[in-house]
Symmetry: C2
Subunit: 407 residues, 2 copies
């Protein structure tokens, strides 16, 4: 019998009415004759007296105990959804991470799913029950409870889908799929019917919050299809290895990120400039560097520029000042009020003219490109914050993302 | 190494200050060089948004899911206490019921502990950790979470003590031990240094809320000593098989229960009177009957009187009316405004004059005895509600429970 895994969104748990609606939606899926496994995220309704008490008790509570407390949220959510489904006359059962056979390991600061023993879930499916799994949690080999952190519920859904050889995984979100750009900003942004894992990864890393990259990466490895849609609509976006339709569309989406800061560090001579040192020092201080541009021009002192998030700015300046002697740079400069706009599409690999077309269009729009970064399926530019929306709309238009829907 | 199990009271979890106090108290016990296992009850602080949502979702939620939700309370409480202990520089770890190896079974409507696999707890004790177990929960053989209901945390503490061959079990309560009567009502009521399991069982069933009878019964079977005390004082009451001291004290305590109702059912002839029928009918409708008195006097129509709790009154009348034809009685009558006062003491078995002395004293106090019930170690009388406090004080005085402390 065909199984599907549905990861519901936290909005679907934001009130009793919403819980009843999502229960009905899940029952509809069951009525189509499939085995249904549902993965629930944390409920904001339950956040959170617990942490208030924790903070009063300790300024440095142990991670192990925080995992134990954190895990109760999705545990309660899974039971509430099971109760709502049962109320409508259907069989349902909640399973915590450990009950569902989800094995996890701690790796440095993150928690990963190492294995899923799917027997318990399969047993329950065989009884005709809808299985509701508390997302983002499991146990290590010593039966300690661990929670997965950001993107944990998405990742749990994909991992269960892989373990149970599910037909596909549905990720319910507030939007009805993946868009060529943010519809709130770009006129004519439209929903993609299909997109590849790699394109989705680029979009996810570029700020699209619909599916967590961890989950997309896992789905890519096991080649299991993901469907992203809202819980209330039939349409959505299919994420898979190769996209059949729309192949001719070179650029698949436009993404952007606001509030970027460019830092520039200059050296007196080439001998002093050690890029490795500067970026390892920043990384050791948890400062994420995105785009890096090194200018080495004859007769000009060498400089390196890089972009960071606004939140990391103060810390980055502090780290640079502190380590100035070792890092050997002679000056540091910064520019605020920038943003990043990117175009993404698997077809770009075989279309070398795409970047040039992008720069050309931006020039026509009188938008100054401050930095550039490219990958096989992506081109990102840093432009003034004030031009961000204009740039996104122009690129969306340039690559025919609007017209495509009319065809 | 000697182990002790401490079951803390819910008052100790009623604020962060209280949690910090109880953490210190537990650490003191650890400092004495013992292995310490703590069993926590539910926290009232966390009660309870969850049930509000459940009630909105379903008027008849499944018991299985209610267990799942209920279990999160003590799970969180155990983590919070572990965090508070760690904050003070001591090693501690929380364990849920299933992590602690607590196996439970469902038996009709109640959940019982069937076995404890103590390995996990022992492993942790060997590491020098204080082990905090979420009370009143375990898992069945299919790993479903079950919660134990009333007295569950007390019972968990005793069961763990038995499994780990603990030296004794400490039950922390609001009071500093077991009293000869309720100090709020009886002048001169005093704390007993020791009491037998059977005496404690009678007192518990008669309304003393310090230790749950389930826990006392289990301790009695395995002959493991219980110490009842407040978390802030050294003194307490030792509950064990045979009491060494105070043996000469025939009556060990006075208990009472307010708001009793006496129902009387009369028959036209002996042929029609079937006691078994009437009490099985009441039992089938979940009405607890306490004292039963049957009057069969020559020349007088047979009657049977029994006492019930005020809450069951309306239901009892309804059940009797509905089943009147089958039960064959000719009239039913009732008396409200009654109470039950009892004296308890293991020494009563070998002191046949105790009941007579009790009735004599009540007669002197002009207290009318409406019903009488006796067991080997207990005599209960039903008296007017208005005389309850007077009767309790008189009996406390009669059996020298006040003077004993002066000796």
């Amino acid at each position: 019998m065909v199984s599907i895994v549905i990861k519901i969104d936290s909005t679907s748990l934001s009130s009793t009415e919403k819980i009843e609606q999502i229960a009905k939606r899940i029952i509809d899926e069951k009525k189509r004759g499939r085995n249904v496994i549902v993965v629930v995220p944390n409920m904001e309704l339950l956040e959170d007296k617990n942490y208030q008490i924790v903070n009063l008790l300790s300024d440095k509570p142990s991670k192990r105990e925080l995992h134990v407390i954190e895990s109760t949220n999705a545990q309660i959510a899974s039971s509430l959804l099971a109760i709502a489904i049962q109320k409508k006359g259907f069989k349902a059962i909640s399973l915590t991470g450990w009950q569902a056979g989800i094995e996890t390991i701690e790796n440095n600061d993150s928690v990963l799913i190492s294995n899923i023993n799917g027997e318990r879930i399969i047993d329950r499916l065989k009884k005709g029950e809808i299985v509701i799994v508390a997302g983002s949690q499991g146990v290590d080999h010593k039966n300690n409870i661990l929670t997965l952190g950001d993107g944990g519920a998405d990742t749990t859904a994909v991992a269960i889908g892989v373990a149970l050889k599910a037909e596909h995984i549905e990720i319910f979100t507030a939007q009805d799929g993946i868009y060529t750009a943010d519809p709130a900003v770009v006129k004519g942004a439209r929903r993609l019917k299909q997109i590849t894992y790699d394109e989705m990864l680029e979009l996810a890393h570029l700020g699209s919050q619909t599916v967590h990259p961890r989950a997309v990466e896992l789905a890519k490895i096991y080649e299991i299809p993901l469907v992203v849609r809202s819980s209330t609509e039939a349409q959505g976006t299919l994420i898979k290895g190769e996209v059949d339709m729309e192949k001719n569309l070179v650029v698949r989406g436009v993404a952007y990120e606001a509030e970027i800061i460019r830092l520039t560090v200059g050296y007196d001579s080439y001998e002093n400039s050690s890029l490795a040192n500067i970026f390892s020092t920043l990384a050791n201080n948890d400062i994420d560097v995105d785009i890096i541009v090194q200018a080495v021009i004859d007769g000009v002192k060498p400089t390196v520029s890089f972009s960071i998030d606004k939140e990391d700015f103060a810390e980055a300046i502090k780290v640079l000042e502190k380590n100035k002697p070792e890092l050997g740079f002679s000056f540091a400069d910064f520019e605020v009020g920038l943003s990043k706009v990117s175009i993404v599409g698997a077809g770009m690999v075989s279309n070398p003219g795409v970047a040039a077309r992008m720069f050309d269009r931006l020039r026509k729009e009188n938008i100054l490109v401050k930095m550039v970064s490219t990958s096989e399926i992506k081109v990102s530019v840093v432009v003034p914050q004030d031009d961000m929306v204009k740039a996104a709309n122009a690129l969306h238009d340039e690559f025919n993302l609007i017209e495509e829907i009319v065809k």
